[in-house]
Amino acid sequence: MVYVQSSFLTTPHGNMSCIHCHGGDETQNTKETAHVNIVSYPSTDPDKYCGSCHAGAVTSTGTSLHKTQNGYYTLFAKRAGFDLRTDANLTAEFNNECGKCHTTCGQCHVSRPVSVNGGFISGHEFRRTPSMTNNCTACHGSRIGAEYLGENAGYRADVHWLPNAKRCEFCHDANEMHGSGELYDTRYDARNTAMPKCEDCHANARTVNAYHQRHWADGEDKEEVSHLACQVCHSQDYKNCNACHTGGAGITGSSYMTYKIGKNPIKSDRRSYDYTVVRHIPVAPTTFASWGIDNLAQYDSEPTWKYASPHNIQRWTARTDTTGGGECWSKCHNNWVGSLKTYLRESDLENYERQANQNVVIPTN
């Protein structure tokens, strides 16, 4: 049911004819005849329907990862050894199971995304800033949304949300969402400088205490001490995935909460940390068997414990809370025992994952 609130009619878009964007025939008096050649989602063709007024955003959005879905294609190609788009059957499978999650102008600025069953946010009104819960976490909900809003039982909301009420766009602004005009392979592509970092706001915290000075090395000290991503100390446990949510084959476990420190698998000038938290992703060599790929030929080329940015930051965590004293080794540095469950160990891996994660796991000796 497409119910348009009358308040929409006083907005700039509401001053335009319905058929200007949606086609159809407004002179007809039955639903069937009025809806002939109707365009339900005009912004699936943004150049035609949005570009005449919003040319800049439309042009750059063509390179947005929300639009291109390059993250999927890049990682699939690395593991399979070829681009799935070269195969019509695989492309159809992808579009059926994964491709529907990409977004359009309207699915951020007018309605909920189609992948979560759509629905107007505010009676067809166009919102300059998308709704955090109806748009952002409607898609990015099972991990990021639940973490950020504190919906995982036993864990607190991210400090940026409670009590600081920072909405998604506080860090993820329109420049990042709309793309820069340059095509990136993944969201963590080192060239993607619009992707925020904690340091963008907190660079001045580098010297506020001995822990920061020791673990947040820069300049001359950088060669002497390990450089940790902020989340290594300030993240709570986060959700790790053990099955593809669309079904599929290969790995069929349940998601689980844990926290693992690994070696940074995507070290670059942009993210130069030696250690970071890593999140498990649900891909096995046989994950795409139902698509006709019995075994991913280059499965070992990419780790299955991936660089992660949990959105559940707290100042005081199991690592940083030193209430009652204690030594460095009591929280983290008892590596020689090899008993701390916070490090990603080879014993955490399935046999088929071991080679793929050899550069991420932390040895016990």
Binding site: M16, H20, S52, C139
Partner: protein, 71 residues
């Protein structure tokens, strides 16, 4: 005299700039035939009438659980 000339020139430039920026269309130029068509059109008559829409709406297909948030 020179200062007066400079001041007058500055004022003229400012007025011209204001005129140019203020007169720029904030919103798209819409075809003449489209303007005002939404009000009172057949589309709007139906799509602002919640009761009518509920009578004629096509029921949504059953939720198969296939859609899910990504992460």
């Amino acid at each position: 005299m020179r200062n007066l000339s400079l001041s007058l020139s500055g004022c003229v430039v400012c007025i011209l700039l204001l005129a140019v920026t203020s007169c720029t269309d904030k919103y798209p130029v819409v075809n003449e035939g489209d303007i005002g068509q939404s009000s009172g059109s057949g589309c709007i008559d139906c799509h602002t009438n919640k009761e009518l829409l509920m009578q004629v709406a096509t029921p949504l297909p059953p939720d198969t659980g296939g859609s899910s948030s990504e992460g």
